[in-house]
Symmetry: C2
């Protein structure tokens, strides 16, 4: 392998790819990235066996070849170099990197030992607007569970229902659902939330459309020169639609920024109680009031004016409430529930495509 | 105690003071701050027994009094409130805090239990330009030791010598010295580096002059409305001047930014060897060359053009070299040494008041 590439292009590609390579894997080669010449371009890949990501970089190739090198060192090293042309040359599994002032040798491992993701078997395909998908994933992915005890809940579920495609995630304490797009396709794809987070990182602002190819094992996303393949999670997603209440007896509609502010202040007094805050909606005063009590430290009451229907009290985790409010795009928000023990719902005023459920705490 | 204060002023004062209060102390009251009415102003103090810091805030006082409250909660809470007037009122060791929308109670501990630093016994006094002192302390403080085994080396030493006041710090592996100002005063003050770091935090951009009062136990800095008192370290500072070589056989003068860059790149290959890099100065090529070798990973050579006198090789810790280069203000720097085993010196070209010594590593 012998080629020339610009520092700018190589640096950008390494930033997108290298973080997938993990130093913590039991398989040492997974902390490496794979460099490979492909049709007069340099292909840079990394995988953690759940996902594989590849970016192609324009380069001047004088000799074909491939090698794997430590991802972090390669990334940090290229990032430190001044902009300009970089020479890469392979000699006996050693990668020589040269600029006019720098000359270094990085010890590699043969590309033959690098694990390859299986090819997609079928040709199912949808196309999604990149910015629409990015926003939707950001609104949903953080409600997926981190707990491997129930693998299906660590996923983000793409599913079609009555002519629309929805994405949803839940850790059983909260749930976020976004209507993504109208589509005749019938899909049920359960993607690891960790893969979604990797996808979000490379989605920055590249490409207008994202190509999604899938079979029953894997999904491949193609955005410009970047290709990301992720395995699917095996399992049946809970029938979450029947968990979302249709009607609510009690609701408050108020300014989102103010709701965020009174929640934040209240959460300071909820550190002792794992974030537990109590919300009171009062039809007589047209107020939403939040109380938090820390027996050691003190207590706090904060109020905001709201348009109120019904009166009632519910206790929630303040962090979940803040996460939900921050995920809502609209400036006004409606918060609804039926009683102390049933799910509460948050929706932006005027929004028809995003809803967020939070289960109450026992108080 | 009953008073009114603006959120802006209270927030600013808490930011300056609260971080001195430590949640990790064995004396629980030290995680509190002291609020006290003084001559129609609110005095806010914190101490960790090494230093005490006090800021006065303008306020409308309707009843005198004092209380201590948890520093972190008070700071986070006031920071979260919207700007405007805040009412503070004391009722049985509970501090009531009220704005139009927020009402909270923070449980306090009586001010009588709060430790007070002893008053200064003498009236020695110097006055220093705030920005000059700030810059000088930043150039020196990071070379002090973190190791309590030799307490004098954890200090920053203010000392007069032949009509000038110098400040110096060393951890025995490196040393930084700054000539601060011309003065007839004879001073020898050894201040904890931790106190200097706290001082730097409150020095932001307030006040043109800083008043320094001292006796043989304590130093008091007064900057505008902020007063910081620190104890002195007991002990005799090493006679460091005799450790600094007067003449050098080998030196390279080069662009500082380029020196930083080749050092950074080289340090990436020095992770295995605890940062060890080898610098070669070569009179024939007029180059400074840095080599680093990581047996596992690879090796790197980086060169920069320099104005060179003599030829030689020395091995240094790359982090110490980067710290020194970043502390130098000038754009060009001279790096000098006599041989593999003697101290090396870094100086900005044209600088007469800052020098930085780094001891070589055995290689």
């Amino acid at each position: 392998m012998k080629l020339q590439v610009t520092q700018e292009n190589l640096h950008k590609a390494l930033s997108a790819v290298a973080r997938v390579a993990s130093g913590r894997s039991t398989l040492p080669i997974l902390s490496n990235i794979l460099l490979k010449t492909v049709n007069n371009r340099l292909s840079i890949s990394a995988t953690n066996l759940d996902i594989a990501i590849t970016q192609l970089v324009g380069s001047k190739i004088s000799k074909e070849g491939s090698i794997t090198v430590p991802a972090r060192l390669m990334q940090d090293f290229i990032a430190s170099l001044p902009s300009g042309i970089i020479d890469l040359q392979l000699e006996d599994n050693k990668l020589l990197i040269k600029t006019d002032k720098y000359q270094s040798t990085i010890n590699g491992i043969s590309a033959e030992d690098y694990p390859v993701m299986p090819a997609l078997s079928a040709k199912n395909k949808i196309e999604i607007d990149t910015q629409v998908l990015k926003k939707a994933l950001q609104q949903v992915v953080f409600t997926a569970s981190n707990d491997d005890a129930r693998p299906v809940l660590t996923g983000v579920y793409f599913n079609s229902f009555e002519g629309d495609i929805y994405i949803v995630a839940t850790d059983s304490y909260r749930l976020a659902e976004k209507k993504l797009m109208t589509s005749k396709d019938s899909i049920q794809l359960l993607l690891p939330a960790s893969s979604i987070n990797d996808l979000l990182r490379v989605m920055s602002d590249v490409g207008d459309k994202i190509q999604v190819n899938y079979d029953d094992q894997q999904v491949q996303f193609t955005i410009g020169d970047v290709e990301l393949v992720t395995r699917l999670i095996d399992g049946v997603y809970p029938d979450y639609r029947k968990l979302i209440p249709k009607d609510f007896a009690i609701s408050a509609t108020l300014d989102k920024a103010e709701f965020i502010n009174i929640t934040k202040v209240s959460s300071l007094f909820a550190r002792e109680s794992a974030g537990s805050i109590t919300l009171h909606i009062d039809e007589d005063t047209n107020q939403l009031k939040i109380q938090s009590i820390a027996s050691q430290v003190g207590e706090n009451t904060a109020v905001a004016a709201a348009k109120v229907v019904g009166s009632g009290t519910i206790t929630l985790n303040s962090r979940y409430l803040l996460d939900a409010l921050n995920a809502i795009e609209e400036d006004s928000v409606t918060f609804s529930f039926n009683g102390k023990l049933t799910p509460s719902l948050l929706k932006g005023v005027g929004s028809k495509n995003y809803q967020h459920i939070i289960m109450p705490l026992k108080s």
